[in-house]
Every structure is written in structure tokens, then in C-alpha cells.
């Protein structure tokens, strides 16, 4: 018997005034699965993830996290996931150590487990030397690492990662991929948005391509390639989301006329 999905999205819609950012999308993420969420800028990826994490309320439809409706049972649902936002905004006047300790307290971790885990994660992301520095002195990439540590700290079963590799150095990006694989091997579920097709192709078990708030295609990478008759995921993506044709690009960047 298959384990029930950890994330269920059912006809989810979000409107901002007259603009429909997410338009009746449905999908599920099973335990052990890495689900990629692809789409052009403004397609609705971040809005969907923000609804799933309780940052935005859906206009209609449901989002279930580990069996809990995020709108009606937000606290129970929030205990189950870790989240990395698209912008790694952290408290500038706290040190990394204090920030992670604060996050651990939010999730009710006991002192011994919390400190052991913080040391482990800071070591993994090579942040020990800067653990006592205020976060306002951190670079973008370092803040991204701290945000990743915060998401991993309480060892949740579900992860929502919004562009998690932005700002990371190659070593840390590779480490993140390994962590994501390890999490899913242990029965967890990961939903991540990304613009990097190579990451989606090499990492994700399934991907959904969203455009104008609607899911244009969903399946495994080989399925999508086969279905659309394209060789790469990038071609599938551009075919579905209307990428600029080569001729049009050439027109825009043509050699300036000599006067």
C-alpha cells in the first residue's frame, strides 16, 4: 500500500485584486519524492509556496501539509516543514548562533538537541568561524546558508525550498543537493522551485511547469521530454512558456546601424 502524500494541493487559487496569480492548480508530493516547480518569473511559483507555508491565504482551494489543512490547522502543519524563502532575510542584529537558537526555540527543541544540531549544521556549511558575528555583516550567500540551516534545524519531514541555490557557492550547492537526496531517502518530501534546468533535470523525481498561474505540464523529466518531443527539459520549458525565438533575439541585438 502506498504511503499517503505529504503535500496535497487541491484546486488552489490566489487572486490579488483583478490579478490571478495561481489559477486552480492541483498536485501532490509523496514521501521520498523531490518535486520541482519550474516557471518563468511571475508565473506563480513563489505565491504557491507562500500559500503552502501559510504566508498567504488561498482565495479558494485547499493545501494539506502532512494531513493538516494549512488554513484551518496552521500550527500543526507548520511543525512539519522547513522553509527557505526566495530572499534569505534574517534578523540583522542577531548572530548566526543566536538566530538558529531562536529558530530551535520556535519549534520547541530541547537545549541539548538544539545545540548539537546547530553545531552540526554550522560545521556542515562552514559557518563556525562566523557563528558569533552579527548577521548584518554576512554576505548574501552566507545568509542563504543560515536560512538553509534554519530550515534543516528541527529535522522536518517536508521541505519547501524557493530558489535554494541562489547565492550559494558550487560546493554548498552540491552539498544542498546531497542533503535533499538524503532527506528523501529517509522518507521526507521536498518541493523546490528553481530556474536552473540542470538542477531540476538531475535532482527532481517529478517536475511541474507553471505558467500564468496554471500548470502547463507535470511528470517525470523523461515523460515530459517524450510527451513534448523535445530533447532537453530546457526545450520543453521554453516550448511551454513561450521563450523568444532565435530570430527575434537576433533582431533585438542586431549590430547598430552605422551612421
Amino acid at each position: 500500500m502506498l504511503a499517503p502524500p505529504l503535500v496535497v494541493v487541491d484546486h488552489l487559487t490566489k487572486r490579488f485584486g483583478d490579478t490571478t496569480a495561481v489559477d486552480g492548480i492541483s498536485f501532490a508530493v509523496a514521501p521520498g519524492e523531490i518535486f520541482g516547480f519550474l516557471g518563468p518569473n511571475g508565473a506563480g511559483k513563489t505565491t504557491t509556496i507562500k500559500i503552502l507555508t501559510g504566508l498567504l491565504r488561498p482565495t479558494s482551494g485547499r493545501a494539506m501539509i502532512g494531513g493538516f489543512d494549512i488554513t484551518t490547522h496552521p500550527v500543526e502543519a507548520k511543525r512539519l516543514f522547513g522553509y527557505v524563502p526566495d530572499e534569505p532575510a534574517v534578523y540583522p542584529k542577531l548572530t548566526a548562533l543566536e538566530f538558529l537558537s531562536f529558530v530551535g526555540d520556535m519549534y520547541g527543541m530541547n537545549a541539548a538537541r538544539k545545540m548539537a544540531r546547530i553545531r552540526e549544521l554550522l560545521g556542515l556549511f562552514e559557518l563556525q568561524a562566523d557563528a558569533g558575528a552579527l548577521l548584518e555583516s554576512y554576505s548574501h550567500g552566507m545568509r542563504q546558508k543560515v536560512a538553509l540551516c534554519a530550515a534543516l534545524l528541527h529535522e522536518p519531514k517536508i521541505y519547501f525550498l524557493d530558489e535554494p541555490t541562489v547565492g550559494l557557492d558550487p560546493k554548498s550547492a552540491r552539498m544542498l543537493k546531497d542533503i535533499v537526496r538524503a532527506v528523501t531517502r529517509a522518507g521526507g518530501a521536498v518541493m523546490m522551485s528553481t530556474h536552473i534546468m540542470e538542477i531540476a533535470e538531475s535532482l527532481c523525481d517529478r517536475v511541474a511547469i507553471i505558467d500564468h498561474g496554471r500548470i502547463a505540464a507535470m511528470g517525470t523529466v523523461p515523460e515530459l521530454r517524450e510527451l513534448r518531443g523535445r530533447e532537453t527539459l530546457e526545450e520543453v520549458f521554453l516550448h511551454l512558456t513561450g521563450g523568444l525565438e532565435e530570430q527575434r533575439i537576433a533582431e533585438i541585438f542586431r549590430e547598430p546601424a552605422r551612421t
Binding site: G54, A89, L94, L97, F102, D105, M106, Y107, S137
Partner: protein, 532 residues
């Protein structure tokens, strides 16, 4: 931009001013709030005009020539010290920490043109403050003295130049400081200087005012420092008001000359500062030595309170309210001897005084409780916390600050006024009540109109946004004052006046209890509906 330096500066200036106006217009999502703020500003301007006009008329009638000749310099000095606080922040925000600088500095524009355009933008913003606070004073002063027509032209011209001199000097100091100290640290230091220097100066000088004695027509305020531009403006207004055209034109000429020297000099220093390289980043990592150890494990509510209090302790610019509140206590204590003959000092009057301090002190912590989360609000919103837990943490965190400050302030006032232990305890209790209510109003307002996209956490930069919770606080204080007054009139002889104080406090506690219930319900609802 393929233009000459002047044309480029003009284009940049126009564009920057236009963008600033657009940003201000788009910043106001609530029309009601905008109307209330506009009405409050108009009332303030009219009050300054009317107060000056009738005050000067009264001095003329009393033949108080000494006071007439010295009040102008002191009025401009009040503005100068307010500007000291504003201009430091403005120079930082408009130039060094401005989010558009990375874009503008890589464009093919001359850095000199950019600095001049930014400078003019800063001066234009200061001119708005001048129009609201100083113009009605100048017009009221001249009108009351029936000054000749040319006096208006001379004084308004001087008034227009005044903020340019101040802004040039203060932005130069700011930029020089930033070249020496890393910006993230320098901005904190400059804010504290901007708050503490005027407070200390005023306390010192008010102590001199408070002890002057004699007949009103022989009185004169102490001489304000002559090297300050505020004194030059004071001399210009005094001589123009007296119809002394050679003296007035002389002072205007002097101010214009200094403007022509100070502004280019200041701008050259600022432009040089940017030519040497610019970065918003700190020069070095600041290690918080006190936080190297393992932090304790706390409950979620306690963790949020600890996080907020740590943030405040490490952000001196958030201490402004507290410095101003304690400064106001100093002012009350120094002015005690002056006030007593006008209005007899009773426990109830002291309670109103400390109540005002509590409302003033609670403004910033209350109305920024949620907004201070800034872009990090995602963390609280995705953590397994209920809206009620967030509300409790925010109320307690804000109250921890203002409760401590108002308690100290009330004890200082009680001791300074030579009150009994019981009367001082009543002051402390009343201060805590008023502080609690003002915090509730502030937090409720902030949950309704949170602002997460600010560049500077100090509420002074939120402009008129703070008027609503402040007015709520003042109304609540007026209501409590009415209760205290009525009970004093009715029970002044019972138990030596103690019954009046106790019953007054009881009624006030009921009012605050009602405010707490109403605002907390509303705030929790707002937090539950908050989208970020």
C-alpha cells in the same frame, strides 16, 4: 546621459524629486490615514502661527523688548536641533545607504551631478519641514509686529536658504564619519548623537531659563551661540520685524554668502567621499562578544521577546524615544520652579505629566512591534506559533522597554518633586497604566498597517504614520485626566487627598483594561489575517 554638467544635474534633480513624490503618494494605501495626517499637520501649522502671533502681540503690549529680541534665535535653535536628528538620518538614507545608489553610480553620470541632485533632494525635503514649522512662526512674528512688506521677502528668502546650510554641514559630518567608522556602526552612533546632544543642550539651557527673575519688560533669554546659523536667522527676523532694513539685508547677505561657501564645500567633501569608493557593507565583521556562548532554551513566546529585546539593545537608533522621554523628565524637573506658580503642583498634575511621558515613550516600541520584523517576517509567519502567541510576545517585548523607562522616569519625578512614597507609587502605577494602553494602541495599529519595506527602523522616518496611535494615546490620557480631575474635586479632603488619587487610579485602570481587551482582540484578528 550625453549632457553637460548643469543639464545633467538638473535632469537628475527633477527625476529624483519626481520619484520621491511618487513614492510618497504610493506609500499611502489608506486615504483616511492620509486625511487625518493632513488635518493634524494643518492644525499644527495654524497653532504655531496663532501662538506666535498672539504671543508676540502680548509681548509688544507688555513692552517686553528684551524677550522680543531674543525669542527668534531660540525658536530657530529648536528647529536646528530637530534638524540635527533628521539630517543625519536623511544624509545616510539619501546618499550612503540609499537603495538607488548602486544603480545610479554605475550609470554614465558625473558623480558630482549625482551628489548635487541628491543634496537638492535632501534640501527640498527639509524645506517641507521649514514650511510646516518655521514659516508660520516667521509670518506670525512679522504680522504681530506689523512689519513692512520687504521684511516678509527678506525673511522668507533667508528661511529658504537656512536648511541648505544645515543640510550641507550635517551631511558633510555624516559622510566624514562614514569614512572613518563602518556605516552600519556609524549610523547608530549618529542617531544617538542626534538625539542626545539636543536633549542635553536643552536641559542645560532650560535650567538657565528656569531661574531668570525680574519684571517681564526687563527679561531677556540667554544669548544663543552666535556661531550657529539659527542665531543668524534670529537676527534677520528680529531686525526685519523692527523695520531695520540695513541690518536685515546685512544678515540676509551673510546667510546667502555662507550658503554659497558652505554648500559647495560640503558637496565637494561628500563627492570626494563617493569618489574614493562606496559600499553599503560594513568594513569589518562585528563580533558580539557577549553572545559567543550557547544561548539558553526558551519557550516560543520568551524566544521572540528575547530576540526583540536583543535587537533593540543593539540598535541605538531605536533608543530615541527613551532618550527623549528621560530628557522630558529632566525638563519637568528643571522647570518645576517655573510651573508651580502657574498651576499648583498636585499628585494628579504630576500623574498627567508622567502619563504624557509614557505615551511619548511607548510610541516607537508599540507601533513598530510587528514592522520591525522587516523582511524576516516570513520566519514568524511560518513558525508554529498562533497569532495570540505572537501578540503576547510583541506586547510584552514592547512593554518591557517602556515599562522600565517609565518606571524610572516616574521615580525620578516623584523624588524630584519631593513626593511621599505613596504619591511616588501612584505615579509609577499611573505611568505603567498609560504605557500599557499606549503600547496596546501602537501594536494594534501596527498589526493593521504593518510596514515591512522600510530602510530605517526609526519611527521618525515614518513621518505622519505615528500620528494616529499618538492621538489615540493623547485622547486616552485626556479621558484619564478628566477622571483624575473629577475625583480630586470631589474627594480632595478625604484621607488627605489619597482617596481621590486611589479612586482616580481605579477608574483609569478600568479604562486601560477596556483598551487592552478591545485592542488585543483586534490585533490578534489582524495577525491571523496578515499576509506577507
Amino acid at each position: 546621459m550625453n549632457q553637460g554638467p548643469l543639464a545633467q544635474t538638473w535632469t537628475l534633480t527633477q527625476e529624483l524629486i519626481r520619484f520621491r513624490i511618487l513614492a510618497s503618494q504610493r506609500d499611502w494605501s489608506s486615504r483616511t490615514l492620509y486625511i487625518v495626517a493632513a488635518i493634524a499637520s494643518s492644525i499644527l501649522t495654524l497653532t504655531i502661527f496663532g501662538g506666535t502671533y498672539f504671543g508676540v502681540r502680548a509681548l509688544v503690549a507688555a513692552k517686553a523688548t528684551g524677550l522680543l529680541g531674543s525669542i527668534a534665535s531660540w525658536a530657530f535653535l529648536v528647529y536646528l536641533f530637530t534638524d540635527l536628528f533628521i539630517a543625519f538620518g536623511q544624509a545616510l538614507n539619501d546618499m550612503y545607504l540609499s537603495s538607488d545608489m548602486p544603480v545610479l553610480l554605475v550609470m554614465p553620470v558625473r558623480s558630482g551631478s549625482l551628489i548635487v541632485a541628491k543634496f537638492i533632494l535632501g534640501v527640498v525635503q527639509n524645506e517641507v519641514y521649514v514650511a510646516v514649522f518655521l514659516l508660520p512662526f516667521v509670518l506670525g512674528y512679522l504680522l504681530a509686529l506689523a512689519a513692512p512688506w520687504w521684511a516678509y521677502i527678506v525673511c522668507v528668502t533667508g528661511l529658504a536658504l537656512f536648511p541648505a546650510v544645515l543640510y550641507a554641514a550635517l551631511s558633510t559630518i555624516t559622510i566624514i564619519t562614514l569614512r572613518i567608522i563602518p556605516p552600519q556602526i556609524a549610523k547608530e552612533i549618529l542617531w544617538v548623537i542626534g538625539a542626545a546632544v539636543p536633549t542635553a543642550f536643552w536641559l542645560f539651557n532650560f535650567a538657565r531659563f528656569a531661574h531668570i527673575e525680574g519684571d517681564i519688560n526687563s527679561l531677556q533669554l540667554p544669548t544663543a551661540p552666535e556661531w550657529l546659523p539659527s542665531s543668524w536667522m534670529g537676527h534677520l527676523l528680529t531686525s526685519a520685524g523692527a523695520g531695520d532694513s540695513p541690518a536685515a539685508s546685512g544678515w540676509l547677505g551673510f546667510i546667502a554668502l555662507v550658503t554659497l561657501v558652505a554648500c559647495p564645500l560640503g558637496l565637494a567633501v561628500v563627492a570626494q567621499g563617493f569618489a574614493e569608493g562606496w559600499s553599503r557593507a560594513t568594513a569589518g565583521k562585528r563580533i558580539a562578544a557577549w553572545s559567543r556562548g550557547a544561548p539558553p532554551s526558551l519557550s516560543p513566546i520568551a524566544a521572540v521577546i528575547w530576540k526583540d529585546v536583543s535587537g533593540v539593545m543593539r540598535s541605538p537608533q531605536l533608543w530615541f524615544n527613551h532618550i527623549a522621554s528621560l530628557g522630558f523628565i529632566g525638563y519637568l524637573l528643571v522647570g518645576h520652579q517655573v510651573q508651580s506658580p502657574l498651576l499648583p503642583l498636585t499628585v494628579q498634575l504630576a500623574m498627567l505629566q508622567i502619563g504624557f511621558v509614557a505615551v511619548l515613550d511607548s510610541l516607537n516600541p508599540g507601533m513598530t512591534a510587528i514592522s520591525l520584523e522587516h523582511a524576516s517576517i516570513w520566519l514568524l509567519r511560518t513558525a508554529p506559533l498562533t497569532p495570540r502567541q505572537i501578540f503576547v510576545a510583541k506586547i510584552v517585548g514592547a512593554y518591557a522597554q517602556t515599562g522600565a523607562i517609565t518606571t524610572v522616569a516616574a521615580i525620578l519625578l516623584g523624588v524630584g518633586y519631593h513626593f511621599s512614597f505613596g504619591a511616588t507609587a501612584a505615579l509609577v502605577f499611573f505611568a505603567l497604566l498609560m504605557s500599557a494602553a499606549a503600547i496596546c494602541y501602537g501594536v494594534e495599529f501596527d498589526t493593521r498597517y504593518p510596514s515591512f519595506d522600510w530602510e530605517n527602523p526609526n519611527a521618525i522616518n515614518r513621518g505622519v504614520r505615528m500620528i494616529m496611535p499618538f492621538l489615540n494615546g493623547l485622547l486616552m490620557l485626556a479621558l484619564c485626566g478628566a477622571f483624575l480631575g473629577v475625583t480630586r474635586l470631589a474627594l480632595r479632603t478625604v484621607w488627605g487627598g489619597s482617596a481621590a488619587v486611589l479612586l482616580g487610579l481605579f477608574w483609569c485602570a478600568l479604562v486601560v483594561g477596556w483598551i487592552f481587551v478591545r485592542t488585543s482582540q483586534e490585533a490578534v484578528r489582524n495577525l491571523a489575517a496578515l499576509e506577507a
